[in-house]
Amino acid sequence: MPTAMEQLIEYIEYILTPSSPVFIVGALIVFLVPIIVHIFVSRATPYTNLPSIVLVGPPGAGKTSLQTLLERGDVAPSTHSSQVPQSIELTASVDQHLSFREAVKDDAPGEHKKFLLVDTPGHGKLRNFAMDSLVAKDGLRGIVFMLDAATLDENLAATANYLYEVLLALQKRVSSSKTSKAVTVINVLIAANKSDLFTALPATLVKSNLEAELGRIRKSRSKGLLASGVGIDDVDNEENDDWLGEYGSEKFTFGQMQEFNLEVDIIGGSVSEAKVDKWWHWVSERL
């Protein structure tokens, strides 16, 4: 015991006596520890701040197919239901109208811009991924809402409901941000996929159907019950919070969304026939 005690005292004395090794070790610790901690932390948080385009839409619309088609540039591989979001990095040329096949190549002409294309799961239980990405993303430049134009008749209610949620989230995002800096316009593309199929509706018909259905939804929502957790007091001041578009208007049109800095376009196309150039141009113009 006494020897151990003495040793300890000796050590402490040595450490506390000013000498060159103690200085060097001390200085090393002082300088290196913050650097190591910094490296450690900064490595854990990825550094990406690319502009992003988010793919949303009901399941089976072709979101993952479009994403993989754009990335591979030749043929979309077969896909299954997504369970997690997936983002890929793509390069679009800003000043030239290239088809997506040419844009994928490394030596494509023109000025290039990199962006992230984020695919989200469409399944009803997994939509919180998509909704989170709509609210949180800083570099959000556009939303591509994909839908299946061939089965829109049967799925109109479900599709419109999701679109309603998406538009409402975007509208809230715009109206809630009260910062002085100019609010950027968020572009929404409604991509009517599967135009190769016989039953597919053309883009104009998709638009009118969706507008009618969205009008009905917002009407029934306004009459619906309050959500649990919302007190009676909160109701009055947020009267028109859940109303999509121009408040009190009779009919809903996508044009009403411009009031909230939302531009909505509807373009038809087909992933399986690789007719996605119009969408691709839309995306590259919005970056």
Binding site: V37, F40, V41, A44, T45, P46, T48, T64, Q67, T68, E71, R72, P77, S78, T79, H80, S81, S82, Q83, V84, P85, Q86, S87, I88, E89, L116, D119, P121, H123, G124, K125, L126, R127, N128, D153, A157, A158, N161, R216, I217, S220, R221, K223, G224, L225, L226, A227, S228, G229, V230
Partner: protein, 620 residues
Amino acid sequence: MLDTFEILTTSGVVLWSRSRLPITPPYKSDQHTLKWTFVKELGLIFVAVYRSLLHLSWVDKLVDNIKTIFVDLYGDQIKKPNTTIVHCQEFDGYFDQQMRELESSAATKGTTQTPTFALENEESISGNLGDEPPLPPGLKHRNNAKTVHDGAHDLSSTVERQPPSCWKRRAHGQDVATCAQDAEESFRCPHVVGRRDYRPKKKAPKKGRKWDADGFADEDDDVQLDYSAAPNSVTSDSEAEGRSAARSTAVDSVDSSTWGTKTSKGQFVLRDLDDEVHDILASAQNKSSTTSSGIVGSGLSTINSLFRNVVGGKTLTKEDLAKPMDGMKEHLIKKNVAPEAAVRLRDSVEKELLGVKTGSFESIDTRIKKAMEVSLTKMLTPTSSLDLLRDIEIVTRPSGFSSQKPRPYVMSIVGVNGVGKSTNLSKICYFLLQNKMKVLVVAGDTFRSGAVEQLKVHVRNLKELTEREGGQVEIFEKGYGGDAATVARDAVRAATSEGYDVVLIDTAGRRHNDQRLMSNLEKFAKLANPDKILMVGEALVGNDSVAQARNFNASFGQGRTLDGFIISKCDTVGDMVGTLVSIVHATNVPVLFVGVGQHYSDIRNFSVRWAVEKLLNSSN
């Protein structure tokens, strides 16, 4: 034969697939069997599909092996961020090799063992590691690590190979060491056939050896037989060294043999692939069997883990999670979640978190809370829209395109006695009346005295309340003693002819474990054919909620389940809304409404965020 094998990512992209028949999903559960495995860190799913008629016992092993090989070959590609491209065209060869190997091993298993092995080993000369016999359980790791010199032994001594007795001996440290030497010898001259047989000699002094549970021997008597290690090192150390020696020689020799074969063409390429595959499998198994090395290593890792506990970036292990996860389970049970549901939630969250890295400056508890929030949200979120008014509109005023005729929307409400069926029915009725609907309330409780009068009072009140709003409500009743199902059917008919929008059917309360009363529900569902069957459940009820929800959900006959829950009396429980979780866990049926008070207006749409917040709120 396999119908399909697919490798896909959780984001839905199929990376590699092979299908024998052009069958497309969905696979029917009674015709096909799916075997799948999942690599969480990489988000990879491996699925094998085959006809259920064929009992393919080797598919499990195939899926596992393919997983190991694929992850080893393409793991780096998959880890790359922001891309879904994985170049794995050449994987065909690896897959074919595994298929062939496992299929043939399955075939040999069926026939008599020893002769087939001898034959196969003679056919496949040096360096073929393919045809291992079924290993005795518990010895797997060891033996697989030494596949190469096992193969070498096969050459010389196929006949005496009698698993498990001599295999057990092979698992022994000293033997491994000598084996390694033997293996070296044999690889120097791989075509030697009549090699000396050392095993019978050694058997004699080892008779008295004791075997422990792991298949290792007590090593007191013959440490000196170990040539590979320093004489006074600990047994396990020497064993490990011996093993590594064996492995290194093995790998070396395989390398040289592949060099040799590469000059020629044809079949040799396959053998080359075999070696590679087995190397991958063996190293994977080795990795899983090796634990932390030495005192210095473990000390460093402890410091590292402490550091990461604070800073974050810690990879979560089962031990890290065990205690906080149990705490989370207790917390949920305190919130009135049935233990069954709480355990399931805990297990699923634990599975999700295993091997996950915590974010920077994130403690385990916050990570668990986050994961639990996600799980609860996922569980409670309905898969379809629950906009009741919209549903009613579609049925009562169908659009011009569809061929459906307008008809009233029928809703019925079931539940245990005294949970508030009539009260919630009148609340919904009030809500519908405010939306100017024409509602028919049906007194389907023909059993309890006063039930019809109670509903009459409700209807009278509602009439007075909504006169100004423009709604219209009537009651349909046939007194007591009648059959509820027939009353309901008559009411629906009457409503159709008189142009009502909605029919609300009240039913008698019934105990969920009373078979006699529950069986009436099937007939009721058939005759009244409601668009929505809602069950009222109390927020007050505890563990019984699971059984209640399950029994009611199953009582409407085939193909008909509940469409939603109304959770009543939520105002009486405060934060303890665990019943919500229990019933959704039990049935997968969404919650539509929650009752939050005594007035007609005290009914709310169910909000998932509200529930999750309440459940995870720990200040009570």
